[in-house]
Amino acid sequence: MAAQNLQSVPAELTPEEEAAGQAHFDRIIAEDSRIEPRDWMPAAYRKTLLRQVSQHAHSEIIGMQPEANWISRAPSLKRKAILMAKVQDEAGHGLYLYSAAETLGQSRDKMMDDLIAGKARYSSIFNYPALTWADMGAIGWLVDGAAICNQVPLCRASYGPYGRAMVRICKEESFHQRQGFEILLELSNGTPEQKQMAQDAVNRWYAPALMMFGPPDDDSPNSKQSMAWNIKRFSNDELRSRFVGMMVEQVRVLGLTLPDDQICFNEDTKKWEHGPLDWHEFQEVLAGRGPCNAQRLERRREAHDDGAWVREAAAAYAAKQQAKESMTTKEYAA
């Protein structure tokens, strides 16, 4: 895998080399420029990024499931095609992100093992069930919408491979959000039953989507350091507030409502405010006690285990082919 050639887990360095590395790193951060895989970086920076990028990759992969759940039942062939393409994009996002994470020194296999073993996290949002077709709309509009708010600033993240992966991902995500919006718009202008389906889905996904930005700022211990490292650009609450402002506008066009009567624009702070969120529920879902945690992990584990013989076969075949080639080369040499 190409990414593995970029791995740069550093060998033992002298104190002088460490100091020079740190100085270089500090200068890059101060200039708001980019750290690349072979550059020296603080161990904590590497660890933070590896955690964030791999969690992000896992979220894409687990996030395929609630939508894949509706591919077979999509109510028109056009919607089926769009949904297939969207879920396929998510697999692609997972691939770029695993590749970006590999440049930090961990293999995709190890990350996948950690995910299946329940040691790695992924976005809590994907532990909610996609119960109706309208959920395909609400996931696209709200969940991908929140993801975009989070991810656009990440295009400028100080770690080069991550920032570059995010540029492409964000382009595709904006399509995803539009298709979600379109699904809801169609339903909202459809039969009364369809409109009700759309409203129910928005009601169910609204609060979990807001919680995707993470805990409130005064309860987010890692945010400050990530901001100092130019990984994170805006605080959780700042991004959440922006997102609410966008949704308030868009929900009117949809002819639906957000299930929150406390949304308002604070003229003093110039920020959008929203009603209270159930952070206890958020913690429960993160701790593995959400509605679909067990189901999602089991499905990933099953696919991984069922595919083991295929991966082994591909590796064995590649090894045999390589052995054949080197035999041929030797014969030539002789």
């Binding site: 992969i61 591919i71 396929q88 697999a91 459809g190 039969t191 499905r299 696919a303």
Partner: protein, 308 residues
């Protein structure tokens, strides 16, 4: 990998770009950016609505057969998305499913132009996909065979992709411009499918003992349904004589050759299994199709007349 290549002369220029059916050299695949002039089902639908194209009853029935094949396969392959052995295969099988769905939509849209709903309107792709029952589907039974394990899916893909490649390559010469245009787009895509499945047949056959055993089993499971692909009937005979369709039997020799090349490279034998009677082209299906339709149609049927 194989000796057969599309003759560029046979895959260019059917119809006029400005009217939508820009068949010909639509070098589009779901794997690449679709150029602005690629043939889309919406283009055909527009031509149907504006009365630019209307297939004969025979042509419509033929298009329905090919459309149903592709639709049922897309439905089967779509199941792999999020369940494949590797992320790369989630993407590859998803791509193939998408290509098949695209072909299905084009063929069904065209077929529907010759059929009417109760209110007199032409039947749309969705009318045909969601509001027909098992015995009204015209796909051959190979397409509805269960995915099984990855080797069984690859075995089905191996047969289907060679068959579709040969069929569409010939169909680009159809006297029916719309069929030719759909085939011109499709042949490039199924050529990739052929490459994908052939590579996996080689890998699985030459990988481990386990994978070889499964590959052999997968081929044996699918092979009873191979014969049906190449069976002629009155319809294909009439259309083939008129130059509009490809006689299925005329593809058999090339199929045997192309499949045989890969199987022999993989040191596999053509499975020696009794052929199933088939009958899908006339609405006789295996037990599997009912479940596929039940799942595919459930939501659309809960909301008849709704738009999505």
């Amino acid at each position: 990998m194989s000796t057969a290549h599309t003759n560029p002369e046979t895959t260019t220029g059917h119809g006029d770009i400005s009217t939508g059916v820009a068949g010909g050299d639509s070098n589009a695949s779901a794997t690449r950016i679709t150029p602005g002039n690629a043939l889309r089902p919406e283009d055909i639908a527009l031509e149907v609505r504006t009365g630019l194209v209307k297939p004969s009853g025979d042509i419509a029935e033929y298009a329905l057969r090919l459309g149903d094949d592709a639709l049922i396969l897309a439905q089967r392959l779509g199941h792999w998305i999020s369940r494949a052995p590797e992320l790369e295969e989630d993407i590859a099988l998803g791509n193939i499913a998408l290509d098949q769905l695209g072909h299905a939509r084009s063929f069904l849209t065209y077929a529907g132009a010759a059929m009417t709903n109760d209110d007199g309107s032409a039947r749309s792709e969705d009318d045909l996909a969601y509001f027909r029952r098992e015995h009204e589907f015209r796909s051959v039974q190979l397409f509805e065979q269960p995915n099984g394990d990855f080797a069984a899916t690859i075995a089905r893909q191996f047969v289907v992709s060679i068959y579709q490649y040969l069929l569409y390559r010939r169909l680009t010469e159809s006297t029916d411009e719309t069929l030719a245009a759909i085939a011109a787009k499709a042949v490039k895509e199924v050529d990739y499918h052929r490459d994908h499945s052939a590579q996996w047949v080689l890998r699985l056959a030459g990988g481990t003992e386990e994978s070889r055993k499964r590959m052999v089993h997968g081929l044996r499971t699918m092979w009873p349904y191979v014969g049906e692909l190449f069976r002629d009937d009155d319809l294909t005979q009439r259309l083939a004589e008129a130059g509009a369709a490809v006689a299925p039997s005329s593809l058999k020799e090339d199929f045997d050759r192309l499949a045989g090349e890969i199987l022999s490279e993989a040191e596999l034998e053509v499975p020696d299994v009794p052929a199933a009677p088939g009958g899908g082209r006339h609405g006789k299906h295996s037990e599997h199709l009912g479940y596929i339709l039940a799942e595919m149609q459930v939501l659309a049927r809960e909301h008849p007349g709704a738009s999505w």
